[in-house]
């Protein structure tokens, strides 16, 4: 332990309770960190690609998640190691930014770390390694830009988008019906997309799941589904051309925020109060009726009396609708959320062509469909599946596909999947390495090797000979000067990814390389780990 002394020769206290803390310094610290990072990435490595395996995760409460999605696996993994947590963050930020490629980014970072360790052993300073990685990541990103293809799609021709989404879905358990799911994802994104501004608000797409039925029954609904039923069992189950009043005030007597008391001391007061109360309910319902509403959707509950009055006046109502759903309904139907009965006017009502209640299975599950809305800019993807885990996994897969479609609308450049882009980058980086004088050259070469690890993992997971396959593809790319060759995971006989229609988004790939490099740089720069000892 390093000690500092003041002018009287007494040791300074730099770290409180120094003895009880474990401390790793220098190369040991870096190696320990690298080992942790690699361990995390190794867990995800087998999940990569269309033949990747799933992980089963059991939460502290005993719930089971079965998934293939990198971000979800890491999120649920209960990692304690600090560096492990960094990797979790890494995958999460890829998820937030891009939504797809969460496994790839961690595998990439892991192999960069592996390469870095070798360089460190040779005595190269970590900062030089980090700088070399930085340079090469820039080369790789630029190269990706060069090899990226633009492809055109329009509101009517969505085929290219569907193809890209299918690439994403093919690595998930839902690949059985990837075609239909990809179509659903693309159609829903197109429905809410603002093609002028090239922007998509994914909040407008609601993904709702219900256990039962089969995956093929999954459907896209141009409207909203609410997991609620009518407040009174005898209200009509189907309303056409509904005018919807969206309320955030309860059908209950008012509760002023200021404290107050109404004192009753005479019989007259008692009676007037009673009259008022009855009138209050009557007024509320009358108000809704007056503005012409044919359906009331309310965030709060109803009093029994109000409920009956609504029923009586033939005004169907739904209660306890959540805030987010309420907002979506408002967007979809073009209505306004009304916080007070007094403010209810005809033009604040939302409009929907059809509202119906639908029952499922043998239990009394009912859901409310709001369809043919005035503004079709809010859609719902309704997932059915054999069991809860299946639905959850499908939700995640659809989310990934939605993100991919959105990214393509933002930026319609694509690169080829199946490891083709990585191999091409690796060749480019390798070629650039020789031009750099100094130690960085080694780091750049190492980066090229690390890039190879993604196709390598793909080949491994698909049961191919990893080294043989990779070198063959690499040679082919150089010989024919064609960057479309990748790993043929599905045994289709060709490894031209353009023919196989395996695409990935350019920004997704770029982001993967940049994020992975950043995290690796960060890990490499740490040379001192101080952790409190076990208590």
């Amino acid at each position: 332990m390093a000690l500092a002394f003041d002018e009287y020769g007494r040791p300074f206290i730099i770290l409180r309770e120094q003895e009880s803390k474990s401390r790793l310094r220098g190369l040991d610290a870096q190696k320990a960190n690298i080992a942790a990072g690699v361990a995390v990435s190794r867990i995800l490595r087998t999940s990569l690609g269309p033949k990747g395996m799933d992980k089963m995760l059991q939460s502290p409460d005993g719930d089971i998640t079965i998934t293939n999605d990198g971000a979800t696996i890491l999120e649920q993994m209960d990692v304690d190691n600090q560096i492990g947590k960094l990797m979790v963050e890494l995958s999460r930020s890829q998820d937030y930014e891009i939504g797809d490629g969460t496994t790839g980014v961690v595998v990439m970072a892991g192999s960069l770390l592996e390469q870095a360790e070798k360089l460190l052993e040779r005595g190269i300073h970590p900062i030089r390694v980090a700088e070399g990685f930085e340079i090469s990541s820039r080369i790789a990103v630029d190269h990706l830009e060069k090899i990226a293809d633009k492809f055109d799609f329009s509101a009517t021709d969505i085929e290219p988008l569907v193809q890209t989404c299918m690439t994403t879905l093919s690595s998930k358990i839902v690949n059985r019906c990837k075609r239909s799911l990809a179509e659903i994802a693309v159609k829903s994104v197109m429905a809410v997309a603002d093609l002028e501004r090239k922007d998509v608000n994914l909040d407008l797409i609601k993904v709702e799941g219900k256990v039962g039925g089969k995956l093929e029954d999954t459907e896209l609904i141009y409207g909203i589904i609410v997991d609620k039923d009518m407040s009174h069992p005898q209200m009509p189950k189907q309303i056409e051309d509904a005018k919807i009043a969206i309320l955030t005030c309860p059908f209950e007597p008012p509760k002023p925020k200021t404290k107050h008391k109404v004192d009753i001391d005479t019989v007259e007061k008692f009676q007037t109060l009673r009259k008022q109360e009855q009138k209050y309910f009557d007024d509320m319902v009358q108000k809704c009726k007056d503005v012409g509403a044919t359906l009331v959707i309310c965030q709060w509950g109803f009093d029994d009396e109000a409920n009956h009055l609504l029923m009586h006046r033939n005004l169907p109502a739904v209660r306890w609708v959540g805030g987010v759903e309420l907002e979506l309904i408002a967007i979809a139907t073009g209505g306004r959320i009304v916080p007070r009965f007094q403010e209810l006017t005809t033009d604040k009502l939302g409009k929907a062509g059809l509202v119906r209640e639908k029952a499922f299975g043998t239990t009394k599950d009912r859901m409310l469909y709001i369809e043919h809305c005035a503004n079709s800019k809010a859609v719902t993807v309704f997932i059915r599946g054999g069991n809860k885990m299946m639905i959850e996994e499908t939700k995640r897969s659809i989310h990934d596909a939605l993100c991919v479609a959105r990214n393509l609308i933002r930026n319609n450049s694509i690169v080829y999947g199946g490891g083709a882009a990585e191999i091409s980058c690796s060749i480019a980086v390798e070629a650039a390495a020789d031009k750099y004088p100094g130690v960085e050259q080694y780091a750049i070469r190492a980066f090229a090797d690390a890039l190879d690890s993604v196709p390598m993992a793909l080949a491994e997971n698909s049961g191919l000979q990893p080294i043989e396959t990779l070198s063959a593809v690499k040679a082919q790319q150089i010989k024919e000067n064609n960057h479309c060759f990748g790993i043929d995971c599905n045994d289709t006989g060709t490894n031209d990814m353009r023919e196989q229609n395996v695409f990935e988004t350019l920004i997704g790939k770029q982001q993967q390389i940049l994020l992975a490099t950043q995290v690796v740089k960060m890990i490499l720069k740490i040379d001192d780990v101080i952790s409190p000892s076990d208590y």
């Binding site: 080992a35 089963m56 990692v79 089969k214 009753i264 009956h308 054999g386």
Partner: protein
């Protein structure tokens, strides 16, 4: 360099082969657990809860057994989940789905052992399940247009479903009950309108279907016990003291005289309310909430039958059968729809008095009264009947019917076998395995009946080699028999759901190559 600690304390990780083994073993253990309950000669299980009272359930229903188990193995939980979903979706086949998934995994284990990649197995299974489904589709019968035949189909399905349950002794009787009840629903799948009342005493044979509606309540004192041509008001309103609902209101008085006045006003208010209710021209009033003595007395004076504290479902059903609406305000009597029925009377079942509404307007709802020796028998009878009702109501919507007794499995196995012979590549092993897993179901049925399963299944397979065979296992005589003659049928929807969810679950478990278990959340000891 080994990483010292990646996960939190107590979190465990299992990889590769070990993980796969753990999930196979767990899933198969669950399948074996429920295996013995399959088929008409399947045995029951006793479940004892760890909760208060250690209540005991005796059942044969797969979903009920699995629901009550405390399982730690993640793969086993997947199987429990599919059984639950099967119960919710079609109501029956909860055991079969687990057994099939278990058999699929057993076969998959062997394939993995002989170095076939799980993904190859999965794609083989998928092809096989698709092929099996289309084989079933080819052989379904649909008698929707012929009402007479359709009814007999329903009867057969009900009998087949019930024959594996405790009700098998009186399956004829109960099948008729169930079919009658479901036919009344007229295509709706809302089983809530079929009320099942359990009363201990008598024997199962004494159970009956009542066309009317029975409410498990007593009639208030001093009120008429029998009403003809009743006008019923169904209500959900407070009949105790009507609270002032405006927030912050309170009574504040300074003398006893005032208290008396206010009390008087309150009473007056209640009297007014009762008067209004009576003003509807009714002679029966059913309320979901309590009715205090005072209003009850008023009702009795007016000669009105007042029933208090009917539960919510009871009220809803009553509204449904009598065609009245559930009212909470009583200011404009002319627009409230009243319910009607020909006769209300108090009846006795066993020792209990119940209120019986007969001659109701809308015949949709009905009541099944179950009688039996003990509560356990009744509970199990209810579950069995529920299964039958579920299947029937689903069949009414999707009227495709198959034969039973292992027939569908053999048809599927045959088609899948043929597919395996045509498919090149490693997948064909997986497809073959799928057909073996299918055959395991008739094998289990035969085993459970104490028959020579190997012999029977071999005979069955030979029989099915002929075109359009109707052969299945006749458990009663212990031989291969013609299922259409024996009248053993199953609903297509159930079989399809079994096939698809079992394949899906097996697929899910097969795809897993790593299990990460988080440290269990610490709970404070409440003991």
């Amino acid at each position: 360099m080994a990483v010292e600690k990646l996960f939190k304390d107590e979190a465990t990780e299992e990889k590769g082969e070990r993980a796969r083994m753990a999930s196979f073993v767990g899933a198969m253990a669950i399948a074996d657990l429920v295996k013995t309950t399959l088929g008409p000669k399947g045995m029951d299980k006793i479940l004892q809860s760890t909760g208060r009272g250690h209540s005991v359930t005796v059942t044969n229903d797969g979903a009920t057994i699995l629901k009550s188990l405390h399982i730690d193995n993640p793969a086993a939980k997947v199987l429990i989940d599919i059984s639950k979903v099967q119960d919710d979706e079609v109501g029956d086949g909860t055991t079969s789905v687990v057994v099939l998934a278990g058999e699929l995994l057993r076969e998959a284990e062997k394939l993995v052992g002989s170095k076939i990649h799980p993904m190859t197995i999965i794609s083989g299974f998928r092809m096989a399940s698709e092929c099996a489904r289309s084989a079933l589709l080819d052989r379904v019968k649909d008698n929707k247009d012929d009402a007479e035949k359709f009814r007999s189909d329903l009867m057969r399905i009900a009998k087949t479903t019930l024959s594996s349950k405790i009700l098998s002794q009186d399956k004829e009787h109960f099948a008729k009950l169930a079919v009658d009840a479901v036919m009344r629903l007229k295509g709706s799948t809302n089983l809530e309108s079929i009320q099942i009342i359990k009363k201990a005493g008598g024997s199962l044979k004494d159970s009956f279907l009542d066309e009317g509606f029975i409410l498990d309540k007593k009639i208030g004192l001093g009120q008429p016990k029998r009403i003809e041509n009743a006008n019923i008001l169904v209500a959900n309103t407070a009949m105790d003291t009507d609270k002032v609902k405006i927030y912050g209101a309170r009574v504040r008085v300074d003398s006893m005289a005032k208290v008396a006045q206010i009390e008087g006003a309150e009473k007056e208010k209640m009297r007014e309310k009762v008067q209004k209710i009576i003003g509807h021209g009714i002679n029966c009033f059913v309320n979901r909430q309590l009715i205090y003595n005072f209003p009850e007395e008023l009702f009795a004076d007016a000669g009105i039958l007042a029933i208090e504290h009917a539960d919510f479902e009871g009220i809803e059903r009553l509204g449904l059968v009598t065609g009245g609406e559930i009212a909470s305000t009583f200011d404009n009597p002319e627009s409230v729809k009243l319910g009607h029925c020909k006769l209300i009377e108090e009846i006795m079942i066993g020792e209990d008095k119940l209120i019986h509404f007969s001659g109701v307007e809308m015949g949709q709802a009905c009541t099944i009264v179950l009688r039996g020796a003990s509560f356990h028998v009744l509970d199990e009878a209810e579950r069995s009947l529920h299964d039958a009702l579920c299947v029937l109501s689903q069949t009414v919507n999707d009227s495709r019917v198959l034969l039973g007794g292992g027939w569908p499995e053999m048809v599927m196995a045959k088609a899948v076998d043929e597919l395996a012979r045509k498919t090149p590549g490693k997948k064909s092993h997986a497809i073959e395995a799928f057909s073996r897993a299918l055959i395991a179901i008739p094998t289990t049925i035969a085993d459970n009946a104490g028959l020579d399963s190997a012999e029977l299944v071999a005979q069955l397979r030979a029989e099915h080699h002929k075109e359009d065979s109707n052969a299945g296992i006749d458990v009663i005589t212990g031989s291969v028999g013609d299922m259409s003659e024996l009248g053993i049928s199953e609903a297509f929807k159930v079989k399809q759901a079994v096939l698809l969810s079992a394949t899906e679950a097996a697929e899910m478990i097969l795809r897993v190559d790593e299990i990460i278990t988080c440290a269990p959340r610490r709970r404070e000891d409440r003991m």
